[in-house]
Symmetry: C2
Subunit: 232 residues, 2 copies
């Protein structure tokens, strides 16, 4: 039974990667990532589960400063729009956040989902069409954890229009951008998520997310915590 479990030190290493992983936006160093290391990270991604073993991911490795500049411009535009969706003091604080490291990180990586991988009918995708997108996210999380173990920081830039990424990278219609990642050696990994450190949000107790046998709305949705009616 526990014959299949890792030794205690190995288990601890896995949990360490999980708890010390960070979404890195600052602290990137300019030092290049050696190509064998980059390939280890991509191979970790490639070992993710994929629906029907379809391996739908495509990885575009970006080092060209001109490409990074185009992506950064698309980010800046979206970020200004995003700021306007917050109001008052929250908007002021939003503008002070550092939300990407596109130009500083030596490697940028576009992860996209090729919806033609695996053929026209993919086992396991027949009833949940988004399973191939989810497979790509599993690949990203594998890469993220492997990167942490290697000392490489990863930041996920989501404040950008998918259409901008499509245009910059000439993606055909059936290849969907999933994530634009920034990778690099980092000066430090923060002891806690940056959004927690700056007081934007804090980690919930796990128990707030647990349900036994059936779903029950969390307390803060019932207006118990903040007294307001939730909105969408």
């Amino acid at each position: 039974m526990i014959a299949n479990a890792f030794a205690p030190a190995e288990r601890a290493a896995v949990y360490r990667a999980i708890t010390e992983r960070r979404d890195v936006r600052r602290h990137f160093l300019p030092d290049p990532i050696p190509e064998p290391l980059l390939m280890r990270l991509l191979d970790a991604a490639h070992h993710a589960p994929s629906v029907g073993f379809s391996q739908p991911w495509e990885f575009v490795i970006v080092r060209d400063p001109q490409t990074k500049a185009r992506v950064h411009a698309a980010f800046a535009k979206a970020n200004e729009e995003a700021a306007m969706r917050f109001s008052g003091e929250r908007r002021t604080r939003y503008r002070q956040l550092k939300l990407e490291g596109i130009r500083e990180a030596p490697i940028n990586l576009l992860v996209a989902c090729n919806r033609r991988r695996g053929g026209p009918v993919v086992l396991g995708r027949t009833h949940q069409r988004s399973m191939d997108l989810f497979s790509c996210v599993c690949a990203i999380q594998n890469l993220w954890l492997a990167a942490r173990a290697e000392g490489i920081g990863v930041g996920w830039v989501s404040i950008i229009r998918r259409q901008a990424l499509r245009e910059i990278f000439h993606l055909p219609h059936h290849v969907v951008p999933i994530a634009y990642l920034c990778l690099g050696w980092v000066r430090e990994f923060l002891p806690e998520p940056e959004l927690q450190q700056v007081g934007w949000a804090k980690r919930d107790p796990l128990s707030d997310h647990l349900h036994w046998e059936r779903y029950a709305a969390p307390a803060n949705e019932l207006g118990i915590i903040d007294g307001s009616t939730p909105q969408e």
Copy 2:
């Protein structure tokens, strides 16, 4: 720089979890999972990255055989529909596959995305609405890797209608089912993915998924490998 990297044995443990993780559908043992262990796995999930630190995941822990039976019935219905989407020899082989362990696994786990977590405007979700769904997938992959290190097998059941899960678990409209997982101790972890072992699909060389600076369609999409026109 590499001061932030894990020691070699720790790095190896992280890669081991990544490469030895399996999607488990058979080989589940009936032995219960101790609750502290289950909580470690859920805590690993809870340490996933989440858009705007919104922590949008909800975990429903299922042990009731009656609930499992209802889920299994929904799977069986979808699976029969799925089989009909394959033809000829592929359909015959599809029917021979074991695609879930719902009733055998001591724990079933519904992971759902609560789209109201984080409030009406979530940092980083302003331009990519599906980021919260992706955060939940990162949580699932964390749990999957931690489970492997603990000797616990995890299987993702995707051949089921989301609407069936909504009904069985009384999910409100804004809580989206992401994954239905089966967890349990296992007799063994297969040395390679089961779909590869039975000849359904095989792992591509990583190089087939790599692009430098810009996207280029993979060779098999250009009809070079299988000589056919890709279809959607």
